[in-house]
Symmetry: C5
Subunit: 353 residues, 5 copies
């Protein structure tokens, strides 16, 4: 969970469009899978060579080119040449510190997304997913193989899928929808974590609690940074004048938009919860402090006067009539008991005990 | 009061338009009631079968189809087919974790609302109410039977009702208005709770108070999440270009809009109140602490010097002239009284007692 | 000062346009006063019967119908019928929990305002004032008789008044202006109260102070809720396309607008002041606490070691050479004096005393 | 530095356009100075009588009428009549509690500005400056004689000044620019004050500090209230469609606009600084408290056990073998030293000393 | 790092367009370097005299005039005359306290930027960089020689650079891009500093920590003030209607825009981090305080009652049967042990130890 795009500065000074991988996943080997379908036919190929792609550009069928791993820059450059992509598109694909965005290049539309998930149950990671939408194809780029597009693949294979009638823009929508669906799982894990912190806070508000709250807050910041811009992306997909998006896809995009807004609202709710946590923590700490102080005060205020009395009768003056009195000792003990009881009554009246 | 749409993730991966019930009410049996009216006639039927609906679509009269309980997905699918609803409409109806929205599908307009109320006097619950407005009909879907539409039903039955002249859009307005009216009751109960917390805070600000404030705040968050989007919904109902909404309905929608704004303002006021509560709580706690500290300080600062004096004359030096002095003891007592009185005078000057 | 429109819920379920009085002033008897004027003539009537109003609608002269008290719903309904008012207008007039707004009904424009003032010097009250502007008349409704319109009446009677040339819209402006003028008085009283609290805070920051600050804050919330929407109302009066407002009235409306902005700015300044008060209060409290702690520490740290020394020489060991020393007692006193002086020097170095 | 327009309420009830002086400067005698110039000629007159102004209105030359002091209402009324000013313009000129604004009256444009400066080095004062821009003249009104326009006067006298070619709108711009320039001086003085407070805070954070911070904050509020609206004023001068402003003046107005934004940014920076001050103050106070507490704790925790030991051997039991032991006293002293050293080691381990 | 444009006030009173250097870098000698290129040719000259520039204005080739150091006002004035720059452009170039902006003067477009970097590893400095874009030239002004444009120079020299085909607007874009690239380096250094502060906070939260947090915050404020306006500048470069910007440059400008947004998001994340730091600091301090208090309370509450017991048996009453009892001393010690153990058990139950 890198909060800031550190590695970006290594690229400073290079001309725009320079193809250099920037990211933290490591350069995975590049694999190309293809699904090519029309209303009544479907063909799948895996491990395709970038050079074999040109025929798909010509065909009327919808082609989904799924590129996994960004290690082979030459192959990605070849794809760029074949599909006539703008140099900045490939730069964005390889620079995985991009923020989500949609860019309209006329012939093609590029969409940058973030997949978000918990790794090893505890570390929040994101992987950049880039989509390029053309007239009859969609190219998807993933940093490393994720299962995020598996449901879409299954649905295309299943015969009666709407997408096979609706064009490449519907396919692009389906991929975006799959990514957004992954957020719900991440939000659930996050929700469990925030509730665990909340419970720990009630049971034992110790010094670690503030750290746990901080961690939750940073994850929130991170999630917000990844998810907020997506709203704008989907909104501009919906509003775009580009002929690549058919009117009938709009209602589906609005549906994705609603899902994103739902995720964002959950985020905002969590944010308010985490703010409330700090209040609870500070006030619990302050309550404990008060309790400690009260005990000290009660013990001290009861015994300090009593000790003073013992001090008086511990003095060595030669002429102290009380000392010689036969019942002096018992009278003294009685006096001390009376003082103690009086003090306790006072504390009870003050509601301290 | 689920703060986040947890169950939503179970649907992840399904194609859009998949009809699966998502919600926390449980799948209640589905009942269909119909009120069909024109200017001079009214007909009511209860327990209608979904298959018997097609004739109502043809008729010129205004038909209100009230569907209660979302358990019978087949029946709901039948309704969808008869009235030509978009697949996403039925998905939204069944997924009761939707946020309030209005969606214009051309032939029909779908409106998602939330009914809000207190269950068992203490738990805030919401139920999703979906409306579908067509040319001469309104279909309403409720998760479980609520009395929220009873006043509308009564008014339709009463002869001279405006709605019987004004078309299906006025009926839709009346249903939305009925839902908004339910918010006023919820706000009153909430208002009583927040005042109870406020009073408890003045009388006895203990450690539970912070929890109570937190609870009130979460309910506020929850209410805001449900009610804020409604403002936008009604606003877009008013501004829509759809021919389904006649111009003369606009003034009624603005009236509902004003009611929602009134509820939202009350919410914001409560929010400021709850923020103020925390201030009061923290400062009361801090005041109590100060009071405790003062008592400790007064007791300690008076008796510590006195005890020191007793200590001096308790020493066992062989040559201590005061000890042998006949009035030494009384002089010593006098000195201690003088010290104590001096201390008390100092505290009084400092306004501590 | 009801923070939320409680009574509103009693109306829930009634159809829109139902005429029921909703408010906290009580149903005062309804009185109707009329001022009817042209450029060269003026006629006043008081205690007019609602049934006698129709002739005024026909006349070319400007008619101001001032309705005081909302007790006689029948009379108000009669006025509604005569002037062809929309049912929602009368509902808004009677429901005095409305927020300020302007509603354009084509033939007429309805304006809801709030008069604000201090009752019995201490309680903030508001009364709803509704204006209906028609082609050549203005109807004003007040919950109970206020003197707020008296200056306008005086100016109309005075011969050379601009309004007598300028039409009903100028009259409406003058009435709105009179209401806004009342805010300045309310703001002055409020300003005095907030300064009284501020001074009390400096002189003696006790536990009541936080309550006083809270009270001031709630009044601020209340004032904001009443005054903010008015800005929008006057702004929409200025921008409206309605032929009821002549262009030359625009400059006067912008003047009222500026006055409202001035009031709002004062409100915002008071809000920042009240936020600052809490800071002062908390830091004064914390300073006092520190002062108390310092005294305790100084007393305790000086006498605890001294008492320890007396304790040593109060022990009953058989072999303690110091006790037998002739100047032991004086040496001991000297040692204690040295310790005390050393301590005091240390505290002075630390700047505690 | 009156935070709220108190005196404004004295005007309540008067008709709009009533000419009454409202302000806190006192009614200074009114003086009229004139500079009349064309491309090749310049004429200055001081102490002009209001009645002598009409000829200037006719002439093609640019005339600047500088009115100082608002005491002579009759003279100001005469000016209003000669130049055909709207009644509200003169009302705004005389009511010096106006907020900055621009009002377009068609034939003339009125601009209300605030001059801001420190009086006697410490008190922030503002004086209202009103400009009226006509076809070939500018009238400026000042509450009392300020030197703010002196640089403009000097530049007009200097031969090659651009303004002599550019028309009355450029003159108006130059006057606004002169007023904005005065803000930079005020900001510098303010900046020095805020830094003095900041330094005092580091050196000795006492109870006065919070007051000083409050004072700084109020001045910030005050400055914001005066300067923020000016941004909008200059922006609307730039955007106005009025023929009184030539296109080529736009670039100069944008320059003034940038200066105002610079001042506003400095203000916002100061605001963040003052917020940070409170944090520093509170944490310094809390640090001091902790230091005091630590000293008390160390002294008390070392000597309390030691005193307990002396207490034991100060008891008068008849059978206490230690007392009779020859080296009992020295063993006891050794025990006490061991306890003290152990305590100190513990504190050192805890990093308290 | 001057937070406010202090020196600006020295210019107050001068007419707009006055050429006076305002800045903190000192007036460096002015050097002029030229790169002049077409598609197939490139010519570089260094140390050019301002008077030799006119021919470049005529030529069809793209000319980049790089002016370093603003000491020679005469030379800068000459450049202004040759290229027909508006007086305000040169004023802005010389007044290095400008905020970033774009100004369209028709024939030319002026762009004010800020280079940001750390000097001596610790002090944040900014240098103003001004660009003037004409039909076939770009003039860049730097306060002092920075390496910021070196990469651009290298790329122009390299043969196949896109810029040599694309016109002066692309060159301007490349220069802006180079400046924005410098922000990434500054952000990295800043990120390291903020993390160092964060780590120091965990290890040892002392009184200096609050100062370090304040320093980080001020740098954040400063960075925000410099970088935020740039977003608007690039956005208006993209949206401008000016023929100086070709359509195909838009996509590159959007790329720069995205970079700026990335930097701004990192800034906002840092801001939230620094806010969290204060919370951690305050709660650590408060935790330490509590720990100290607990130790004091435990020591005091254990020994105060014990000392009281020793006091009782240290009294000198003649008749105290316990003193004469043979096992009195041991019973007394046993009693004290019991009290101490009871106390410790109580504290353990309360989870204080």
């Amino acid at each position: 969970m890198a909060l800031t795009g550190r590695k970006r500065s290594e690229k400073a000074g290079l001309p725009p469009g320079s193809l250099v991988y920037v990211g933290d996943t490591g350069q995975e080997a590049t694999g190309i899978d293809i699904i090519d379908y029309t209303w009544d036919e479907i063909r799948e190929e895996t491990g395709v060579d970038a050079g074999d792609l040109p025929p798909y550009l010509e065909k009327e069928s919808i082609t989904w080119i799924d590129v996994t791993g960004l290690g082979d820059i030459a192959a990605i450059e070849t794809i760029g040449e074949i599909f006539g992509l703008h140099p900045l598109v490939l730069e964005d694909v390889l620079n995985t510190e991009q923020r989500p965005k949609m860019e309209d290049y006329g012939e093609t539309i590029a969409i940058i997304l973030k997949w978000i998930g918990y790794q090893a149950g505890d570390t929040l990671v994101d992987e950049q997913i880039s989509l390029v939408l053309g007239k009859n194809y969609v190219i998807s780029f993933q940093e490393r193989p994720l299962n995020v597009f598996e449901p879409v693949r299954t649905r295309i294979r299943g015969g009666a899928w709407r997408a096979r009638r609706l064009g490449a823009d519907y396919l692009a929508y389906a991929l975006v929808d799959a990514v957004v669906d992954s957020y719900f799982a991440a939000m659930e894990t996050f929700g469990e974590k925030i509730e665990a912190v909340d419970n720990a806070l009630i049971e034992d508000p110790d010094a670690d609690a503030i750290r746990a709250i901080q961690k939750v807050r940073r994850e929130l910041l991170y999630l917000r940074r990844q998810i907020w811009p997506l709203r704008e992306v989907v909104s501009s997909m919906e509003r775009t004048e580009s002929p690549l998006f058919a009117d009938q896809t709009g209602v589906y995009l609005r549906d994705v938009y609603d899902h994103i807004v739902q995720v964002i609202e959950a985020l905002e709710t969590y944010r308010d919860m985490s703010a409330g946590m700090l209040d609870i923590y500070l006030s619990s700490t302050s309550n404990r402090m008060n309790e400690v102080m009260k005990v000290l005060t009660i013990i001290a205020t009861i015994f300090i006067p009593l000790s003073f009395i013992t001090g008086i009768f511990g003095m060595n003056f030669r002429f102290m009539p009380e000392l010689a009195w036969e019942f002096g000792y018992y009278a003294c003990l009685g006096l001390m008991a009376a003082v103690a009881i009086g003090m306790l009554a006072y504390f009870r009246k003050k509601k301290w005990i």
